[in-house]
Symmetry: C3
Subunit: 352 residues, 3 copies
Amino acid sequence: MSPTAVALGSSQTAAVALPQLIAALGGDLLGGSDIAIARIAPLDEADEVSISFLANPRYQAQLATTRAACVIVAPALAEAAAARGAAIVTPDPYLYFARLTQWWAARTRPAAQPGVHPSAVVSAEARLGRGVEVGPLAVIEAGAVVGDGARIGAHCVVERDAVVGAGTRLAPRVVLGHGCRIGARGIVHSGVVIGADGFGFAPSRDGYVKIEQLGAVTIGDDVEIGANTCIDRGALSDTVIEDGVKLDNLIQIAHNVHIGRNTAMAGCAAVAGSTRIGANCTIGGAANIVGHLTIVDGVHLAAATTVTSSITEPGAYGGPYPFEENASWRKNAATLRQLHTLRERVRALEKK
Amino acid sequence: MSPTAVALGSSQTAAVALPQLIAALGGDLLGGSDIAIARIAPLDEADEVSISFLANPRYQAQLATTRAACVIVAPALAEAAAARGAAIVTPDPYLYFARLTQWWAARTRPAAQPGVHPSAVVSAEARLGRGVEVGPLAVIEAGAVVGDGARIGAHCVVERDAVVGAGTRLAPRVVLGHGCRIGARGIVHSGVVIGADGFGFAPSRDGYVKIEQLGAVTIGDDVEIGANTCIDRGALSDTVIEDGVKLDNLIQIAHNVHIGRNTAMAGCAAVAGSTRIGANCTIGGAANIVGHLTIVDGVHLAAATTVTSSITEPGAYGGPYPFEENASWRKNAATLRQLHTLRERVRALEKK
Amino acid sequence: MSPTAVALGSSQTAAVALPQLIAALGGDLLGGSDIAIARIAPLDEADEVSISFLANPRYQAQLATTRAACVIVAPALAEAAAARGAAIVTPDPYLYFARLTQWWAARTRPAAQPGVHPSAVVSAEARLGRGVEVGPLAVIEAGAVVGDGARIGAHCVVERDAVVGAGTRLAPRVVLGHGCRIGARGIVHSGVVIGADGFGFAPSRDGYVKIEQLGAVTIGDDVEIGANTCIDRGALSDTVIEDGVKLDNLIQIAHNVHIGRNTAMAGCAAVAGSTRIGANCTIGGAANIVGHLTIVDGVHLAAATTVTSSITEPGAYGGPYPFEENASWRKNAATLRQLHTLRERVRALEKK
């Protein structure tokens, strides 16, 4: 039962037999022991060489129409899935799917190429662990430490005394500022800037006087940071990102912010200085949190919400302005500017 | 009637005679056959060596006061313009102006310098078309294809199997991720990241488990992408940007978004995962569109609007909160938190 | 009274005696002439080798509990501070603190290393002043001018005819576009893009036609620009940032914007094209200002405010939507869409 090689246009991905997939990832296979899978696809885009998954019961109707060769399902749907073709039964199909994508990527992507590209500029006073890969034109300064198996992409700059944990991957063009640290198994996408100066000035008669930012950034293990996101260094102590935090693209984390374990933040969110966000929060895209607040664990913030005071109870919070057709929005927005007056008028009517 | 050379400080731009300009761009010249133009300027900043344009009738009064040597106008204003000096008459003065800037830039900017800079790191397994320019310290990986006449700026990274269309220009420091494609005649500004991982995780008892993003990004022809904008790769299939789309700076396009032909999006807009935006839309600056929505063709969204549900009819939509003087804003915002109650109170009054 | 050397882990920072600090920065020292300071810390994090400061009277209670060896205070608190340990008395403790951080950074950070790194690509037609430092893999094109003592970080691109003022520091990976200028003593953080094209197109039957951006960017002295911020070049004339302006991270400044002296703008703010902002304004994080407006001097804008019309009076303005618990937000937001109608109903009631 070895996998069948299948030409997939230019991608050259070898197909894989379902039993081989089960051997790697577990789950119960119903039927399909002779089926080779060449790609992973959503139910409605799957073809006869695809594996798909059904995680949300809302999409159950698609089971009847999908062309997928095999569908990953929860036990409750095993029968329905097996009635139409091969199925993998597992308690959490979405989690299984996530692990499948990892296994798939490991199979199909080029392996790391340990070694330092000759065009990289690596200080003799930097320390590189075993199996480190340093890409073309990367810069690693004196005192920097790169853990075993870490990958430093093309054009990265790892400044003096910065630390990259074991197995962490910096995509091309990441800046890790002097003295900043990221733990193990992290992923940092292109354009990220860790450790630029926090935004601090004292006003004076001659204009603003810069407060040099003497802290750094400390990032835990298993953290992922999206493209062009910025995490500023602390003013005196460090900005802190705890283990398991996931940050999307174009996020702004100001100086001395603290983000708790396993909190996830969607694109374009912004957190102002010294705010502390708890663990296991989800922060919607383009949400803004002003400075010097505390958000407790387990807070879920809707997209485009602006938080202007601390949140002391877990739960879901929101605050985007309700969009509508332009003419209507104009009328309502104009009235909104008189809302307090309107309340007074209602009060007056009630008194009569 | 050759153009007169005029020294313009350090810019060394040669002035150009109006008939030469007409020969290149068309239009009817009224008077001014002996005038040389040394710069393009708005009506209110123009001097006696400037050409200007009048596209918006609101500015017609400026015709009387501008010092411009020549003004580009629509036929309805030909007489008024000619009464005060040279004029070029054309049905769409703004479009003429756009073409004039292109012709001007081509005259005054350094020509492309085909060839690969010796400091660039180009894989022997990359394919470069004819007349390609590769700037200093750029990286082009194996399997990448760069079309005829394309320009790859300094410090760009074109990853394995990525494709750059003919005549497309990457400004310095662009990342085009592995397997991502951009069509012909595109312009990509500095700091753009195309093909970072989409933001996808499955929750588990041990924290988030990464969903490897196995898709890529497909971008059509004639697309322009502004500085530091991010377009993530799709989870399973591709993120798609159709022909003629124009994206401004610092925009976030999440995984599996689809943007239709000739849609333009202003700076700091953000589109969450799997949302589909139609053709010929205009999206205002800092507008946010949440995930898994459909926006039909011909939708025009005001700046700073948050879209939380699909838009099924073309038209103009808005939703920024109406700003006002702080004290007043505080009162109205506080009342807004009791708005639903206020409506109940009005209802109660009505029942009496 | 020479400073005592103290080992501080890997940082190798020498402690400094208080009288030496006073000699450099002024202020009146009460007690503590034998104390050596090894770090600067907030009152509540200070230890017995820390110097701290009390700028905000709200924190006066911390004077009683802080372990700081020395506290910087205003004259009114001199007695209270001296009662508990050493104190430095100065009219503006926060400003003193700012200057202390600068002095501290100068003591503890590596000195500039004048010279051009051998891996940098510097045109023979660029002009570098005395004492300029050019980092690894930086690119400086023909016609560029770099002033005395300026520092060009690793991977920066200074395009043709761009100008960097004396003493200005570009962090790693900054793009300064062709013909753009920044004055003296500036700081530009990583990922900044100065001089990408402004977003300008003329619509046509065949889609958008690009308006080439023929202006540049002119930036004054003493300007700081945060990570990944973008400042676009003007369409015909220049985008202008005046002396002393401070921009945080991920800010978008569109073409032909003009920002007045000593205005400060927090992270993720965005200013659309041709808008003019006065001097001494403060713009909150994620605030948006639409195009073609005028904001006078001395305007203070709350975070996440969208400005849709000119502001003609100095003062404080706001406009973020008031966030709240999700269920309540939903009700209020739904009612908001009927606000104009609600006002009509109140009017009807009043008429009765």
